[in-house]
């Protein structure tokens, strides 16, 4: 589904990603872990098409197409979804209006019929229940005055509503208490599907107790330095990111010896 090869990305003149390669197949749950400043959020943003991220080298193939050529809204319609680390408050734009405009814009681009307000509301109610979000959130402006936890749950609610094929969760767990974390995890787990893939970006192992990944990758200094199964996350938890740094030094010296 998603094939990233040797991706180099520069932000404001500084190289942040220095050759990331990653292969994600439908139905898989991948976790990207790593210390602060490793480039985790850059990876999420560049996949979603944010401006200001200059790809200097490498390719990203998504379902056979060149993802990097698509506008953000085209990526969304093609099934790419980014749950933001910092969801944006948009005063004056009603949440319901926003969600319906988004869903229908995607459907229109895919050549599907747009939903009328009755069909739309029915769908919204189903998804709200899963995340235990209050109806009242729908009548407020997008993310305006939402608590940190509400914002993050709202991201997952949007994901549930838009039903993407590739969902990228950028530190959705940060700032959540344990109850909110469980709700977010329930929302994600309810959406696991053989046709859908997840890329879960997180700093802490904690989220992975609830969302069990198939693969764990460690991103450090712009590269994936270690990949493994869910046990890698546990090792990281035990030894910390310094352990990775040591292994890398070891790896380098080995390479030097060879």
């Amino acid at each position: 589904m998603l094939k990233i090869e040797n991706l180099h990305v520069r932000v404001a003149g500084k190289e942040i990603l220095k050759g990331v390669s990653l292969d994600v197949k439908a139905g898989e749950m991948h976790a990207i872990m790593g210390p602060n400043g490793a480039g985790k959020s850059t990876l999420g943003n560049v996949l979603a098409g944010r401006e200001g991220y200059e790809v200097t080298h490498g390719t990203v193939e998504y379902n056979g197409a060149n993802l990097l050529e698509l506008e953000p809204e085209e990526r969304a319609a093609a099934g790419v979804f980014l749950a933001f680390q910092y969801p944006v408050e948009i005063p004056g734009v009603n949440n319901t209006y926003f969600l319906r405009a988004a869903l229908n814009a995607q459907r229109k681009r895919r050549g599907e019929t747009e939903l009328d307000s009755m069909q739309f509301l029915k769908r919204v109610r189903e998804k709200l229940a899963v995340l235990q979000l209050k109806d009242e959130l729908l009548h407020r402006a997008v993310n305006e005055g939402f608590s940190g936890g509400e914002k993050k749950r709202n991201e997952i609610f949007q994901m549930a509503l838009l039903e993407p094929k590739l969902a990228i969760l950028d530190e959705t767990d940060s700032g959540l208490d344990i109850d909110a974390l469980k709700m977010v995890a329930d929302g994600v787990n309810a959406m696991r599907d053989p046709a859908r893939a997840f890329l879960v970006i997180t700093h802490y192992q904690r989220l992975l107790d609830y969302i069990v990944p198939d693969f764990v990758h460690v991103l450090a200094d712009g590269r994936i330095v270690e990949s493994g199964d869910k046990n890698l996350a546990l090792k990281l938890e035990e030894h910390g990111y310094a352990w990775i740094a040591e292994r890398r030094v070891l790896g380098h010296s080995r390479a030097g010896a060879a």
Binding site: P72, A76, L82, I90, F98, A141, Q158
Partner: protein
Amino acid sequence: MASALLESLIGEAATGVPAARRAAANALLRDGLPGARDEAWKYTSLRALEQRHYVDGDCGAAVRAIDFDALVMPGSAAARVVFVNGIYRADFSTVQALEGLEVGRLGERPADLAIALHARAPAADPDGFARLNSVLAQDGPLLRVAAGARIEAPAHLVFVGSAAADDVAWQLRALIELGAGASLRVIEHHVGASANAHMGNLVARYTLAAGARLDLLQVQDAADTLSLIRRSEFRLEHDALLSMHTIEVGAQLMRHDLVVDLAGNGARFTSRGVFALRGRQHADTHMVVTHNARDTACDIVWRGVADERARGVFHGAITVAEGADGADAQLSNKNLLLSPHAEIDTQPVLEIYADEVKAAHGATVGQLDERALFYLRSRGIPLDLARRILVGAFCGAVLADIAPAELRAHIDALLAARLPQAETLP
């Protein structure tokens, strides 16, 4: 030397008019129209306008066929006073007297016209346009509410532009008087289309006696060939309340002087306004509020949007005079530039000569929030729609309390039609 504009409109006529008008004409011919040296006009050049020749009055406007129903604002009306290219149209107007509300036209009421024209000595007219109006205005709407009368449905003052045989200029006065404790809603509506370059000049005088309440909605959606000069003057006696919404989306050149005199203790003024400009439109709103009494309040929130090569100007000056203690003055003006060629100048000015005053003002000029734009697009909303949603929300902040809903919807549609389209993207 007088400009082509003044020559064409006044010429020798100034000799044949009554003394008061002649004084205004002489002052006008001597000083001309405001120029670049006038601080109050420094952002609005009249050079192009001054080169034009206009015909004073449109002789065909009295009988020209107009689809008036397509122009009216939704909702019921207590009265309707309609002018087409400055000429009164009885066939579109509804001026039956209601209990407590007097409706008419100044052209038929010499005594009221004299009040409207001479409340201030013509020589004291603040600028050339006010003088021009003093020389030539013969007509205009009149609304008078008896003390204590509460008029529920709004009175509509409608100024329609329409194609004429010549480039026409019109001059109108308006007189709106609210007696003590009276309340009235007024919709001042500028609308129409015309291929001709034309010019309108409206001086409106509003007086609110003690405890009166006026809700005024000004909707300016005039033809983009119009140069529209307006002066709205308000005097509020004690505990009077003026609540105002202003929407400026039309006209090629627009200048609106809003002059508010909080003359009585406890008088209050709230203003919500928005301008949305594109093409080469130029809109200059010049607001001057003076707190002349104790415990007076003003609360001004304006938004501006300029796209393409448009230019917007907002000048908001608040003066708290000596002795006007307890005044509360709030002004906020936020603006959005949607194109690198657009320009917005904002000038908040606070002058305080009293003690114990609460005052705050702020003004910004910025661009669309890139993060918000990306957030919307990342959910599948196309760039042009995302921009329209954000600009609409930005403007909508000042329209929230416009009622009823059908009127609000009408204004939303008006703004949406003027908001940037996809093809104007940089």
